[in-house]
């Protein structure tokens, strides 16, 4: 109980800091997942006819997920320096696999007869892709986006170690000032806000689902 009140005190006096960290963190999620979605779509479409290329891109994306997050964040520093750049790169590579895998699965899982009738009616290949295939694969793709978003939220906390900002700043702050007053509150703030953010983003994705997925395939 006491903790809650001291926490409230902490949080209410750091409004702008919390806001900045939240915004930075959210920015990571939106830019990374957005970029990864576009990239995954392009990759899935270009490799779809070549089985080897398809599996290879899946395997390589999986490797990025295996590499320890700290390593991935720091390995690009000699190239791009500290701050946003290495963090973005690392998170981008991390978020690829779930979205890529779901995009490929989604596109592969479309009923062939729908594609045949679309082609037979005279839709050009591009029209088939944009008007039939992507809309039909979209539910599965969104599921992948959701998974990636959650991943990115959790791992983006590490960005603070390479001066990348985000909610990890609070955790680092708290750690460095332990056991001084306010340090525990800082740590919990950083951690729980991640969960809160996850909840909010999940909610937005659900709304996105409802808005963009046709009633006919829900």
């Amino acid at each position: 109980m006491e903790f809650l009140s001291s926490w409230w005190l902490f949080a209410s006096t750091r409004g702008s800091q919390i806001e900045t960290a939240l915004v930075e963190h959210t920015l990571y999620v939106t830019t990374v997942v957005g970029a990864a979605t576009v990239f995954a779509l392009l990759l899935a479409i270009t490799t779809r006819s070549n089985q080897i290329a398809k599996e290879l891109s899946l395997s390589i994306s999986a490797v990025f997920l295996t590499i320890p997050s700290l390593a991935l964040f720091t390995i690009f520093i000699p190239l791009v320096g500290l701050g946003f750049a290495p963090s973005f790169l690392a998170l981008f590579l991390y978020s690829l696999l779930p979205i890529l895998r779901n995009t490929i699965t989604g596109l592969d899982g479309i009923d062939q007869s729908v594609l045949e009738s679309a082609k037979g009616m005279g839709l050009t290949p591009r029209q088939v892709l944009f008007r039939v295939e992507i809309p039909l694969a979209w539910p599965v793709i969104v599921a992948g986006i959701r998974v990636s978003s959650m991943l990115v939220i959790g791992i983006a906390a590490i960005a603070t170690l390479v001066a990348g900002g985000g909610l990890g700043d609070f955790i680092k702050l708290g750690l460095s000032r332990l056991p001084l007053p306010g340090s525990l509150e800082a740590i919990w703030t950083g951690t729980l806000l991640c969960v809160l953010l996850a909840f909010l983003i999940d909610l937005s994705l659900q709304l996105l689902r409802r808005a963009t997925i046709s009633k006919g395939i829900r």
């Binding site: 729908v114 037979g120 046709s214």
Partner: protein, 375 residues
Amino acid sequence: MSETLIRLENVSKAYPGTESPAVGNLTLDVQEGEVLVLVGPSGCGKSTTLRLINRLIEPTGGRIYLKGEDVTEIDPSILRRKIGYVIQQVGLFPHRTIAENIATVPKLLGWDKVKTSARVDEMLELVSMDPAIYRDRYPKELSGGQAQRVGVARALAADPDVLLMDEPFGAIDPITRDRLQNEFLRLQQDLKKTIVFVTHDIDEAIKMGNRIAILREGSEIAQIDTPEAILSDPADEFVENFLGSGAILKGLTLKKVRDIELHDIPALQMPVMRDEALKALESSPEKTAVLLDKDHKPLRWISEASLNRTTQPIEKSGKPITIDLQPEDTLQDALGVMLQSSVGMAVVVDRGGKYLGCCSIESLASMIISGSGGS
């Protein structure tokens, strides 16, 4: 004089790595307004041939002409918007409403919204589906038969001259299939489209086709002719085997009662006296007569034996006539009726129910044996 609407000229399709081509040097003409059925065993290439017409499969040789124009190399997507395409699994877009599905090609062609919307309703009515109910439904809410009706509506939406149908009723239960076939035939009578129809079912081919092309492996034409001609005169053993032993019975669906000579047996109209009846019966070889009522409608079969057996009045002797045939009924129906009657004959009446004559099993049998009808 109907013109050739579709012409496949020396068309072939060979897949790399296979020994024999899927379609080998095929020349085929489809006349305007006809239903040409491509039928043959599995793997003979009939579906491939169909899809060469709208170039879902590109030919490796030969030319394709649509309305005299060489379409072998034009943009296939443009070509397909002029051709209706119906497939077995229908392939409706699950994420679009029925209306949106039907509107697909009109929209591709740039029709305005008002014209498109009216056309959608028109198409739904054409396939006997109430637009008010079905416009805004989704494919997942439809039964198999309804889905295929929408498939046909969608194919006809942009008013193409040509319709390609690949086993369209294959995935539907027999009862619904029969109904859809009949509806489709009625539709075709009004619309008079040029249709190429693929099926593996010879009965469907006979029922639906103005002409049938029986295909061998490699899409080689074994015989191409009207159903009657093929049934009465199969070109070779392959065609005979494909028609199956039921070919003769199948032929009966194509002939009508009016094609047979009707039997002349005595017809006695009420009121008639016993003595008159007996005298007429004596002169008849079958010893059977038909009793007609005052309106010349058949009442009963009368025989000498039945008259002598009873003291009942004439109207109560013999056997009642409960079923009849009309000149428009097929011989297959006639056979069924004759088998049910106890005298091996069936009465033929006109539209008003008035007696025209009798049809006997013997005349049917002699028609089958001779191979041609009384036409």
